[in-house]
């Protein structure tokens, strides 16, 4: 006879009937059903759920692995997709730290119980502060898009104005997220980019700035990979009109690119994913905001922000800075809302920046710059192919113009995929004015060999 012993589910210790009985007795009731009596009969769900049959751990693992096996990952292929989620080198120590049971399953305790989380996030804020050269940084947010939207709303609250300006060279999906988030209180106004350089059309910008303008928001590097060189001019223009200059950055560029604070930015935001997060099909995103240390800025953040204070024994302790400004303290008048954001990615970004340090961040920027430059140069040797499309300096991403090849990006990407390559993002639908163009991303993970293989494969096809 095989074992027919009754036991509780491994995840639910008290699911054993004997234990239940004992507890019911202590409470003094007959059955668990009594506890559910408060739910009206007609609301009881009496059908069967028909969920798939429960799997033991081994079968579960085999089952899920078999499904996931159908994926082709960026490790299986050579990947040139970027567009807001980028393949970077993730130091093993980042994984080690964020996989620690303590951090993985921590949540909302105070500095006394969850001290390490508080210190890590304070350090994270401090490290990002150095990277962007600003004194105030918040706890991490959902993603860059939300960080940008919040930055704009902050500008709205600070200036008391309702319009914000964004150049057209932005990820259209990010633009949608921002618009959604800023509506109905704030209105988007777009300015065009210069056709040859991608740079903001300053004349148009000037014409659209007004006493209603709360902020002009632009990114560096831009979504299309070029460097917006007129950072100072744009900030100056904003300031002349009483508006704020809000700049979004990819932090992997900040070893070589000037932090926006150096060209007049008042609010800086960006995406943390490059700082030690695996792409996770988009699950590695996290946003940040940084400003100067002025009350009028600090009081407009919706986010938690961890500050430092001494204990009675002179140790470091941590706490929430100006919690009163958040929705957790005032759900009606607090700034926007907060909930579970992306703390683990903040901790991880802190580990990453600690590991790389000033030299690593500098090298990272240089390497990405050099490798992407090399890729552009080599791609341009292919007849009919031009990279970059824009006459500007680029970082990490750039547009490859296939218009003269007679092939569509879709066709090219299909061929590349058959040859083990994820080609760049097809821009033909989201930037139709560019025709058959694709946005390529080259980072420190791309070897010369990989780039040469790309060039070779495209050359073969076009």
């Amino acid at each position: 006879m095989t074992n027919k012993h009754l036991y509780s589910h491994p995840y639910i210790p008290n699911s054993h009937p004997n234990i239940k009985r004992q507890m019911l007795d202590e409470i003094g009731i007959d059955s668990i059903d009594e506890l559910f009596k408060v739910i009206p009969e007609e609301l009881h769900f009496n059908e069967t759920l028909n969920l798939p049959k429960a799997l033991d751990e081994f079968r579960l693992k085999r089952h899920v692995e078999a499904i996931l096996e159908k994926n082709e990952s960026a490790d299986d292929m050579i990947n040139f997709l970027g567009a807001g989620c980028w393949q970077h080198f993730v130091p093993a120590v980042c994984d080690e730290v964020n996989q620690r049971a303590e951090f993985l399953n921590d949540y909302a305790g105070k500095t006394y119980e969850d001290f390490g989380r508080w210190q890590s996030l304070f350090e994270y804020q401090s490290l990002v502060g150095e990277l962007v050269d600003m004194d105030i940084v918040n706890n991490p947010m959902y993603d860059w898009a939300q960080a940008a939207a919040t930055s704009i709303r902050m500008a709205g609250r600070i200036t008391g104005r309702t319009e914000f300006i964004i150049p057209k060279a932005i990820h259209p999906e990010k633009l949608v997220i921002i618009k959604n988030y800023c509506a109905p209180h704030m209105t988007l106004i777009q300015v065009d980019y210069e056709k040859d350089s991608g740079q903001i059309n300053l004349a148009e910008l000037k014409s659209k700035l007004s006493k209603n303008t709360a902020a002009i928001y632009f990114e560096n590097p831009s979504f299309l990979g070029f460097i917006e060189e007129q950072g100072q001019e744009i900030s100056d223009l904003a300031h002349e009109h009483g508006a704020l200059s809000v700049v979004g950055v990819d932090p992997s560029s900040l070893g070589v690119l000037a932090p926006p604070a150096h060209y007049g930015a008042d609010i800086v935001c960006g995406e943390l994913q490059p700082l030690g997060m695996h792409m996770n099909y988009g699950g590695g995103q996290a946003g940040f905001i940084a400003t100067r240390d002025e009350k009028k800025y600090v009081e407009q953040y919706p986010s938690r922000m961890f500050g430092i204070a001494p204990t009675i024994e002179g140790e470091y302790g941590f706490g929430d800075v100006m919690m009163s400004r958040t929705s957790m303290r005032d759900r009606i008048n607090g700034n926007e809302f907060i909930g579970t954001m992306t703390a683990l990615w903040g901790i991880t970004a802190g580990v990453y920046l600690s590991l790389l340090g000033p030299e690593g961040m500098t090298e990272l920027g240089e390497t990405i710059f050099q490798k992407s430059k090399y890729a552009m140069k080599q791609l341009s040797t292919i007849p009919g192919v031009k990279a970059p499309l824009f006459k500007s300096a680029h970082f990490k991403e750039f547009i490859v113009d296939f218009n003269d090849t007679g092939k569509t990006v879709e066709e090219i990407n299909k061929y590349l995929q058959e040859n083990g390559i994820f080609g760049g993002l097809d821009l033909s639908k989201i930037f139709p004015e560019l025709g058959e163009c694709a946005l390529y991303c080259v980072t420190e993970v791309h070897s010369k060999e990989a780039i040469d293989h790309l060039v070779h494969t495209i050359n073969e096809y076009v």
Binding site: S126, A145, I227, Y281, G282, S327, E366
Partner: protein, 519 residues
């Protein structure tokens, strides 16, 4: 009295400096894959960025060897009371439960971690299949018809739902008119706050002596201006609103949309569903109810479900299946558009899928039953502790209870915040309540299905001991913690005084003399 004693605990105390204080010039944490010589010889060494856009000084990050960075963060991790380490029933409303380790193994593969969100559907069939299958499970569990997994947490799901409410009324030409959202006193702050963000006026229903909102008040505020109604049930008090169907009927009849906060659905899973209660939308927090890790506070996932009629308003795309392959369905006519980049937090969907697969019908029911039993056991015991009370109706609690220590505070001067710190000395979390404290001197305890009777007894025993201390030696409680990583913070004004606050090391150095601190 519980038979258990609180344990003789002391937190790991490493006296670890701040990361910046570990700086040593010339140390290096990791080497990078730098540019090959062949590339350099091809393109030259020059970083030919426009001069004004070049960074002039390197960022003042610390330079630290790898082993020292690791040691730092491992020490900090030990100083963090993660749910795997403690009986984490004290973080009420957070649904702290076991996040199975096997599920972590499932996502630590390049087949999840190295997936790019924009790669072709064809190469991501595994991800899409899991999302699709999970979607179907969510449908069964809620009675909703379609799900979006874009929201990166419950609050973002609330925000998405407020956006849908707005979009629906706008589409119906009632956008201007229907500008009020009704919610309850005990709903999550994000419910009101996200509605405010979307431009709604928010009406908060008071509760009666039972702790529940009243039909009378609801009727008095419902009107042609009503855009929607958002509530959780049970709310943070743990009290189930048995009139919920009446609530939703009234709102729906008035043309409002009802949406349901099921962040913590432990008490109702498979027992009662959103659809039958008359909701048009709901969301589940996968990082709470569905056993995915809380990640120190995200990334997370708020799975958002809607009834057929609202499908077209969902954030696009959703995952669909044509019988042969899985694909992104962008064809949502009135979609509110995107609310979060890419596809939400897919690794957490995989975890939640695995969690449900490990339970099945019977297991899911055990989750709810056991969570509710555990809670009622604790409820029964806590009420026997001197100074402890549970406001409002007697009983009717499902998965959690908000207690109060008002009596004790009056009698001893020991407040809930004091108890909070003292619980640290026994290795416990203790969460009071959202602000403002509607319940005075509150604490919210949510003993999920993951804890045994012995675990519950241990937690209760710590409360008992503190109650005893409060009445006999209140100073011991007021001066807590005694056995934690640090002692009490000396001056809370560091967090609210602009001249003192310092959310970065650089701000701190500007404002404070180094001597304030030990290191």
């Amino acid at each position: 009295m519980s038979s258990k004693q609180p344990r003789n605990f002391h937190a790991a105390k490493w006296d670890e400096p701040l990361i910046f204080e570990l700086h040593k010039e010339g140390e290096r944490g990791v080497l990078l894959p730098t540019t090959e010589e062949e590339i350099i010889s091809h393109i030259g060494e020059e970083i030919d960025l426009p001069e004004q856009m070049k960074r002039k000084e390197k960022p003042k990050l610390p330079e630290i060897s790898q082993v020292r960075v690791l040691r730092h963060y491992l020490r900090l991790s030990q100083q963090t009371l993660g749910a795997d380490l403690n009986i984490d029933i004290g973080q009420g409303t957070c649904t702290m439960k076991y996040a199975p380790k096997v599920n972590e193994q499932l996502i630590r593969t390049s087949k999840v971690s190295s997936m790019h969100p924009l790669q072709s559907e064809h190469t991501a069939q595994g991800m899409l299949e899991i999302i699709y299958r999970f979607d179907q499970m969510m449908q069964t569990l809620s009675g909703m018809d379609y799900f979006s997994f874009q929201p990166g947490g419950g609050s973002q799901a609330l925000y998405a739902m407020a956006s849908i409410v707005k979009a629906v009324h706008e589409k119906n030409g009632e956008g201007k008119q229907r500008n009020e959202i009704i919610t309850t006193k005990f709903s999550h702050p994000s419910a009101a706050a996200s509605a405010v963000l979307k431009g709604f006026k928010v009406i908060i229903l008071e509760h009666d002596e039972d702790g529940l909102p009243t039909i009378e008040e609801l009727k008095s505020v419902v009107s042609e201006r009503t855009a929607g109604f958002i509530t959780s049930n049970p709310e943070d008090t743990g009290i189930y609103n048995y009139k919920i169907k009446e609530f939703t009927d009234i709102v729906r009849e008035a043309g409002g949309i009802c949406y349901y906060d099921q962040a913590n659905a432990n008490g109702t899973l498979s027992i009662t569903r959103a659809r039958e209660a008359g909701f048009d939308m709901c969301f589940f927090n996968l990082h709470k109810t569905f056993g995915a890790p809380h990640n120190s506070g995200g990334p997370a996932s708020g799975a958002l479900g809607v009834i057929e009629e609202l499908k077209d308003f969902l954030p696009a795309p959703i995952v669909d299946y044509d019988g042969e392959k899985y694909f992104f369905n962008h064809d949502l006519k009135h979609s509110i558009g995107k609310i979060r980049s890419f596809h939400g937090v897919p690794q957490t969907i995989v975890r939640a899928y695995a969690w449900v697969r490990s339970l099945g019908d019977e297991g899911i029911r055990q989750v709810a039953e056991t969570a509710v039993l555990n809670n009622n056991y604790v409820y029964h015991k806590v009420l026997q502790i001197k100074g402890a009370e549970a406001p409002y109706i007697e009983g009717s609690r499902l998965e959690q209870v908000r207690y109060n220590w008002e009596k004790m505070a009056k009698e001893t001067g020991v407040t809930t915040d004091d108890i909070q710190r003292r619980m640290t000395d026994f290795g416990f979390h203790y969460w009071t309540s959202h602000h403002p404290y509607t319940v005075p001197e509150p604490v919210t305890v949510e003993p999920t299905e993951a804890y045994s009777k012995e675990d519950l007894d241990e937690y209760i025993s710590a409360l008992e001991q503190i109650s005893k201390e409060a009445y006999e030696q209140p100073d011991k409680v007021k001066r807590a913690p005694h056995r934690s990583v640090i002692y009490q913070i000396a001056d809370e004004s560091y967090f609210d005084d602009p001249d003192k606050w310092a959310p970065t090391w650089r701000a701190f150095k500007k404002k404070h003399k180094k001597e304030v601190y030990k290191y």
